[in-house]
């Protein structure tokens, strides 16, 4: 709302976040420019000033060209860049760029298909430590070595580094004139030199004029006086290079000085009510609460191993041990003592990639006995629904918790594979428990929304019948397990028996108190009182905290997330509505909104500043994301640790060097700089490098997950999946409701008039969309909002839009677009590529029964792809990765 220019790319904000979009329309009404970069002209584009149609999967070229434009025309915010980013840091001599190696960086190991990141590091000052004390240089070095272990990299490092960057050791050499040929700034300049407007035209299909207009708008609206914001969502993450998309935008925003300032930043619009909360307090295999990594068997056999990397690093991650110990104390209470490493051994260890798709592949191989689905409908909502269904059919038991009967629970009756004969109902062994769930008004609790704000919901009514909250389900499951094991002497059962598992129970149904759980998350101090924040956490076992970043949500024994002071009674920041982590800060890294000396960059963009008289930081209403009394001229004394090791001019307090990283010397497994790779399935070749697709992409090779060759003519069209305003993800919460179903009653695909003419498709008629995984039928919506794009060599790329909400159950039913997709994943995040793959489209409905299988086989053989035939029951082994 404070922005002067808003670039929405990889997000369809008006459709998927309409209520948040009100702030964009208000900014626009005040004169802000709004740009929408998207393959489709959507309801967002209609409101935008400029819509830039680009080919799905080419965003890095577009953004990289903006970076290049900014660098080569000297349009970056120099004072900001020099002071607050790592632009001046010097990279080691051994580093070789993708420009030098035609698409690969130095350190590539073709056998493991992974990088050794050693050559990407900073050149370090000769005096070790520099200002950062190394408690345990040897331990850190050992951790450093182990971090390059294959199975460790497999297990998702980017996430494991949490909300800050991964730890670095030693102080980098710097050249503040930015002239050194190996300084980050120069490396960046060389890396992006070929990302030109012409390249944008060739790769993205975007006219140079449109590109230049965007470049002009964002640069004119950045600097001291003005700020530009970027908005993205799964349009960026759901790619094999998804993390690098976001990196490119971050680089651009850091160069333009738009980070940590009002109206700036990069806004990730997340898709679900508490998906932010689900990563903060993760139900993710590689994380513990608060972005603490899940211990890895190779790296972390003891708590010391686990915290060694942080011991010598600057920034708030320097206190990792305190966070970890407080978590262990929260979980195992009195059983966790310094003598037993605070029960660190109780935490199970990971040994590689245990992510969802990998686990489903294991299910298909019969390696997994039981599966809990809590409010998730993967046979519709996840890529390659057919693979998901084969996985479910090869379990011993399945527990589904949902409001409505969903496809993932009734797959043994309703799966399309029953019709084709690949699955047979009375041959499926899976035992299914459908446990009805309580709705959001039938339980207390917090959601964390997309801007990290926790909001408390009060329970309005009791859930009907057998419906229960997930809190109830997991508490009582735990209770029963502990009762069953109470006489056990098996050390394996100690973690369950020693668990702190006594929450106050309410009402007839014995619902555990969410309030008590939230207080446990907040943590308590030695005096038994709720902590006021993570700065109070200790590594001696005297404090507890279930999630250190949420510490403070129960400060003063008050549920801060339940604060509902009306917005109109507050300033623009409205900091007394709900509670944001960390420390109720609404704009992260907001120290950067002031110059190195602590003065606002401009009066217009004033947000926080150093009040020299009071000797503390002041703000327009937000909490300052900086130590309140650390002056701008603070220089860390030798031997300082954690946040004390950062100077008064280092705003990015979660990074170990306090700087924004233009170049990621560590932590990103597919390269320190974003590089354009084509999607795993692409209609065109890579115009920039010999390497076609992200070399570190994760594949699952199996009959159920065949991939199409790029630039093929059997699957010539690019397909992109998305959501509509009228439905919600896999549809359980929308296709079952009449008022939403009637608004978008049928599955449809959007095609351009040109493609419709080429393939004989009629508006309102049927079409069959075929990929190497599935053939699905859809209604056709012919629209000029989708347009063919001309790319390199005049090749016209047609794109097909396919909303993915539909399945077999509900009021509005239809084939699922996600069945089309291959499971190919970003190596950093293990997120699949939903936004770009290739298909064919033909008029008419799809065949039924075994004929459908034959059609797919025929397509695959024509495209030179291995057979995708599955045995009845679907149990097959993975052939390779």
């Amino acid at each position: 709302m404070n922005s002067d220019c808003i670039v929405i790319e990889g997000s369809n904000m008006a459709e998927c976040h309409p209520v948040a979009f009100q702030w964009v329309t208000e900014a626009k009404a005040r004169g802000a420019k709004v740009v929408h970069v998207d393959p489709r002209f959507t309801r967002t584009s209609a409101i935008a000033d400029l819509h830039v149609p680009l080919r799905a999967g080419s965003d890095i070229v577009f953004l990289g060209a903006l970076v290049n434009h900014v660098l080569s025309n000297d349009l970056f915010f120099r004072d900001y860049v020099v002071a607050y980013t790592n632009a001046s840091s010097i990279i080691r001599e051994e580093f070789q760029d993708a420009e030098d190696l035609d698409g690969l960086f130095s350190g590539w190991d073709p056998d493991s298909k992974q990088y050794d990141q050693a050559s990407w590091q900073y050149e370090v000052e000769d005096t070790p430590g520099g200002g950062v004390a190394e408690d345990d240089p040897a331990g850190a070095a050992e951790q450093e070595r182990l971090s390059q272990h294959e199975s460790v990299k497999d297990s998702d490092q980017a996430h494991a580094s949490g909300s800050g960057g991964p730890p670095l050791h030693g102080r980098a050499k710097r050249d503040e004139t930015l002239q050194h040929p190996r300084c980050v700034f120069q490396v960046l300049k060389r890396h992006f030199a070929r990302y030109t407007p012409e390249m944008v035209a060739e790769v993205c299909g975007v006219e140079p004029e449109a590109f230049l207009k965007v470049a002009e708008w964002i640069t004119a609206n950045s600097g001291r006086e003005r700020t530009t914001a970027f908005v993205y969502s799964v349009g960026w993450t759901q790619h094999t290079v998804g993390a690098q998309y976001i990196r490119t935008a971050s680089i651009l925003q850091a160069l333009l000085g738009n980070m940590g300032r009002p109206g700036g930043g990069i806004l990730a619009l997340r898709g679900h009510a508490s998906i932010q909360g689900s990563t903060d307090i993760p139900t993710l295999y590689n994380l513990l609460p608060g972005y603490l990594p899940m211990p890895h068997a190779v790296q972390h056999q003891s708590l010391d191993d686990y915290t060694a990397d942080a011991a010598g690093t600057g920034g708030f991650w320097g206190n990792k041990r305190a966070y970890a110990v407080s978590l262990l104390k929260a979980w195992w209470g009195d059983a966790a003592t310094p003598e037993n490493d605070f029960c660190f051994d109780y935490v199970p260890k990971i040994t590689g990639d245990h992510s969802s798709y990998r686990t489903v592949a294991d299910m298909i191989e019969g390696k997994v006995a039981g599966y809990f689905l809590a409010g998730e409908n993967p046979t519709v909502g996840h890529a390659n629904g057919r693979m998901q269904r084969f996985g479910l059919a090869n379990l011993e038991w399945l527990v589904v918790r949902d409001l409505q009967m969903i496809e993932s629970a009734s797959f043994w009756q309703t799966a399309p594979e029953i019709e084709t004969g690949e699955l047979v109902t009375d041959q499926i062994a899976t035992e299914v428990f459908f446990m009805p769930a309580a709705s959001h008004v039938e339980k207390d609790g917090t959601f964390t929304q997309t801007q990290r704000m926790l909001q408390w919901r009060f329970k309005a009514i009791e859930p009907p019948g057998d419906c229960r909250s997930d809190l109830w389900f997991y508490f009582h499951l735990g209770r029963i397990l502990r009762e069953r094991l109470k006489d056990s002497t098996d050390p394996r059962d100690r973690p369950l028996l020693d668990l702190t598992w006594d929450y106050p129970l309410h009402g007839e149904t014995q619902d555990p108190s969410a309030d008590a759980v939230l207080r446990e998350i907040n943590g308590v101090g030695p005096d038994g009182r709720a902590l006021s924040g993570y700065l109070d956490l200790k590594d001696d076992g005297s404090t507890t905290s279930g999630c250190w970043i949420y510490s403070g949500v129960y400060a003063d024994e008050v549920n801060q997330a339940a604060r509902k002071r009306p917005g109109r009674e507050q300033g623009q920041v409205a900091s007394e509505w709900g509670w944001s982590w960390p420390y109720n800060r609404r704009v992260l890294y907001n120290r950067a909104s002031a110059d190195p000396d602590g003065k606002p960059w401009s009066e217009r963009k004033k947000y926080v500043w150093w009040d020299a008289e009071a000797g503390r930081w002041a703000s327009t209403g937000d909490a300052v994301d900086f130590e309140a009394t650390k002056p701008p001229d603070y220089v860390p004394p030798p031997g300082a640790k954690a946040q004390a090791a950062l100077s008064g001019r280092d705003p990015f307090v979660m990074q170990s060097d306090g700087k924004a990283w233009l170049f990621a010397p560590k932590g990103v497994v597919d390269g320190p700089l974003p590089t354009h790779y084509e999607p795993a399935e692409s209609p065109v070749g890579n115009a920039l490098y010999a390497v076609q697709a992200n070399p570190t992409t994760e594949h699952i090779q199996a009959p159920y997950n065949r991939e199409a060759p790029s630039s093929g003519d059997v699957f010539p069209y690019s397909v992109t999946t998305y959501r509509l305003t009228e439905h919600h993800t896999a549809g359980a919460m929308s296709r079952t409701l009449p008022y939403l179903s009637e608004l978008q009653p049928e599955f449809f695909v959007e095609v351009s008039p040109e493609l419709a003419a080429e393939r004989g498709l009629e508006n309102g008629g049927w079409a069959t969309v075929v990929s190497p995984r599935a053939a699905i039928e859809a209604r056709v919506l012919v629209t000029e909002r989708i347009r063919p794009l001309r790319t390199r060599g005049g090749k016209v790329v047609h794109q097909i839009g396919a909303p993915y909400h539909w399945g077999e159950v509900g009021i509005s039913t239809g084939d699922s677009a996600n069945d089309l997709l291959p499971v190919v994943m970003d190596p950093n995040t293990h997120i699949q590529e939903s936004k770009a793959s290739t298909v064919d489209i033909r008029p008419g409905r799809r065949p039924r029964g075994p004929e459908l299988t034959e059609l797919l086989e025929e397509y695959r053989s024509r495209a030179g792809i291995a057979s995708g035939r599955m045995p009845v029951g679907g149990r097959v082994a993975v052939e390779g990765t």
């Binding site: 498709l761 009629e762 508006n763 309102g764 008629g765 909002r785």
Partner: protein, 358 residues
């Protein structure tokens, strides 16, 4: 900087569909100088149906969808109501006059026609209601702005009087009351026959509203043709002279005014010629004209009177169906709503600029 392309309508064409070529700047009216094809993609009719293509017409619409809602009145209920009410009304007048002028046979036939027609028409009217049990709500208010309200206050006394008169005529009771009842029915007979014209005309249905001055005369004429025809058929020819005269005059009026309705209102006259309503009205005119001719030529013979009466009644009935269907057709096609309104706007803009809509 925006000059040159933001002039209203510059170059916009309806997007989408595979047939986007050749959009029209075809000025039907001289409005903004930009007209898209209407109804390029009409609504799909049911699952699996194809998308019907509406023929090209020179106006703009929202996917060819009607702007106004076609009446929900059912056929044949409402056309029958119109016909029966008309025949009953004119018969009641005839009956009262025949009574006064001493024509007992004609009086009796007219009263029975009026009574039977009124009762039947009430039945059809009630049957057409969405909530028939609430028929009496019609008498809850009296609204001069509502032809149906006024019509209810006409129909109620008429049907009471005509029905009672017919009943006593059949039973032979209270002869004095008969005359009074007949007189009351006659008093409401004319309004009953003509108010139905207002009933249809006082809507937004283009082909009903435009001829709003003519429709009462059409229905009045048609009523006389029908009433005259029916009574003529059942009355000994010797006494049926007034029936024949009323029938022929009514038929002449009906034919004359229908001709004006069919030709005097530009584009909204179109539905009276085309399609089903066109066929119905052609048949109606043929019947009416033939009926009138037979009346003149052979009306004094028993067989001729029966044939002529049947033809006239049929003509009247077909006229009601034709007018009804023409209105329905005009409501379903947005062309008949948009084009006349556009013309009106254009005329107003040319005339005096002060009333242009903002």
């Amino acid at each position: 900087m925006t000059e040159g392309i933001t002039t209203p309508g510059a170059g916009w064409r309806r997007a989408g569909g595979s047939d986007v070529a050749g959009d029209g700047v075809r000025a039907y009216s001289n409005g903004a100088g930009r007209r898209r094809k209407g109804g390029r993609r009409g609504g799909r009719k049911g699952r699996g149906g194809e998308v019907p293509m509406v023929e090209d017409v020179e106006f703009t619409s929202y996917y060819g969808r009607p702007i106004i809602k076609p009446p929900v009145w059912k056929s044949p209920d409402v056309p029958l109501y119109l016909f029966l009410g008309g025949a009953a009304g004119s018969s009641a007048i005839l009956g009262a006059l025949a009574d006064v002028s001493g024509r007992p046979a004609l009086t009796r036939v007219s009263r029975l026609t009026a009574g039977g027609g009124s009762i039947l028409s009430v039945v059809f009217l009630i049957h057409d209601l969405g909530r028939p049990e609430r028929f009496l709500h019609m008498l809850r208010v009296i609204k001069p702005t509502s032809p149906l309200s006024i019509g209810s206050y006409i129909l109620a006394p008429f049907s009471a009087a005509a029905g009672a008169t017919a009943a006593v005529e059949l039973l032979g009771w209270f002869p004095r009351l008969k005359r009074f009842g007949g007189a009351v029915a006659a008093l409401f007979g004319g309004p009953l026959a003509t108010y139905t014209g207002v009933l249809l005309a006082n809507t937004a249905v283009p082909s009903w509203h435009a001829p709003h001055r003519e429709l009462p005369f059409v229905f009045g004429g048609s009523a006389m043709a029908a009433g005259g025809g029916i009574t003529m058929a059942f009355t000994p020819v010797a006494e049926a002279g007034p029936s024949r005269k009323m029938a022929v005059t009514g038929a002449a009026i009906e034919l004359a005014v229908v001709h004006r309705v069919e030709n005097g209102h530009g584009i909204v006259s179109e539905p009276f010629h085309e399609g089903r309503p066109g066929t119905l009205l052609r048949a109606a005119k043929a019947c009416t004209a033939a009926g009138a001719a037979v009346t003149v030529v052979a009306g004094r013979r028993r067989a001729g009177a029966v044939v002529a009466g049947a033809l006239l009644a049929a003509g009247s009935l077909l006229t009601r169906f034709g007018v009804f269907e023409a209105g329905m057709a005009s409501a379903r096609d947005p062309k008949y709503t948009v084009v006349p309104q556009r013309e009106r706007l254009a005329a107003r803009q040319n005339g005096h600029a002060s009333t242009t809509t903002r």
